[in-house]
């Protein structure tokens, strides 16, 4: 019985965590064109709030995050492409404004070391298994 309750609690928590409830977009910011609004939301989710730093501007209530959300929407309305908007923002705030660091020579270790460790791990498990089979 206890186990069942524990599983239910864990499942509910997982479902709640997987849903993205928190976003700070105010009604007057939302674009009428649904496609444009979806693009704006997707870009906003990838842009760091420079004031709070661990939130995206989509979730942050800071004034700068709001200004950036409005700016992104006005650029979309003006017909800018997504990469142009990202470039505009990184030109001013650097790569730090992107929540996902871009793949560059300086970030190679960051992107590929986990895979290297994963392969090393597999090799260790493989050699260990072979050894135990022999024994």
């Amino acid at each position: 019985m206890k186990k069942r309750i524990f599983i239910i609690i864990i499942s509910v928590c997982l479902v709640l965590f997987s849903l993205n409830f928190s976003y700070a977009v105010e009604p007057e910011e939302v674009l009428e064109n649904q496609k444009q609004e979806t693009r704006a939301r997707n870009i906003s989710k990838n842009i760091r709030c420079m004031v709070c730093q661990n939130q995206s501007i989509d979730e942050s209530n800071s004034p700068l995050a709001k200004d950036l959300r409005i700016l992104i929407r006005s650029k979309i309305k003006e017909g800018d492409k997504d990469f142009e908007i990202y470039k505009f923002l990184t030109d001013r705030y650097g790569d730090f404004i992107l929540l996902k660091p871009p793949l560059k020579s300086s970030t190679l270790a960051l992107w590929f070391l986990p895979f290297v460790f994963f392969i090393i791990g597999i090799l260790i498990v493989y050699s260990h298994n072979r050894k135990s089979k022999k024994n």
Binding site: M50, L64, T90
Partner: protein, 176 residues
């Protein structure tokens, strides 16, 4: 022999871990805010100027002398605290200071400057915060040193303190 070989990945892992930890301590200061506009030209903008009838056009203003650009607002308490040093830059050192009035009420600004003194040669108005975004501003007050070639040479986030006042002065002296 094989057992000895198994130590290699472990050593490799530890060395990477120590390297990353070392970089975390030495190279990265979380309170330091990265700036992408250093050594770049000032952004182009045109906006209303507070005490003048004509617009402030950045391309006409920068490029002749060293200019201090200060983002401020009357609702910002740290801006009031640093105002004494902004005045000293202009009055004692003779440095031209441009004050960008960030998301503020015009009447409040006029009153504020009447009470505290006006050290600014020009006050471009940034009504919606877009000029601040163009300068990569995080939050006010922020101060930039622009050299006589319109290049941003230094950026300070936060209010100017006594130490910062000295530092900015020595930076400007070195640029002259």
């Amino acid at each position: 022999m094989k057992k000895k070989l198994l130590i290699i990945p472990f050593i490799l892992f530890l060395s990477v871990l120590f390297t990353l930890f070392y970089l975390l301590i030495i190279d990265r200061n979380p309170s330091k805010l990265p700036s992408n506009l250093l050594d770049k030209k000032v952004p182009n903008f045109e906006t209303k100027s507070l005490f003048k009838n004509e617009n402030f056009i950045s391309s006409n203003e920068f490029g002749n002398e060293i200019i201090l650009v200060n983002f401020f607002a009357t609702w910002c308490k740290p801006c009031r605290n640093e105002h004494v040093y902004i005045k000293r830059f202009s009055e004692e050192k003779g440095i031209r200071v441009v004050g960008i009035n960030y998301k503020d009420d015009t009447n409040n600004t006029i009153e504020w400057l009447k009470n505290l003194g006006n050290p600014y040669s020009d006050i471009p108005i940034d009504k919606n915060g877009n000029i601040a975004i163009d300068w990569g501003v995080y939050g006010i007050p922020e101060t930039f040193i622009v050299n006589s070639n319109s290049i941003i040479k230094y950026r300070h986030v936060g209010p100017i303190t006594k130490e910062m006042y000295k530092k900015i002065n020595s930076l400007i002296e070195a640029m002259e």
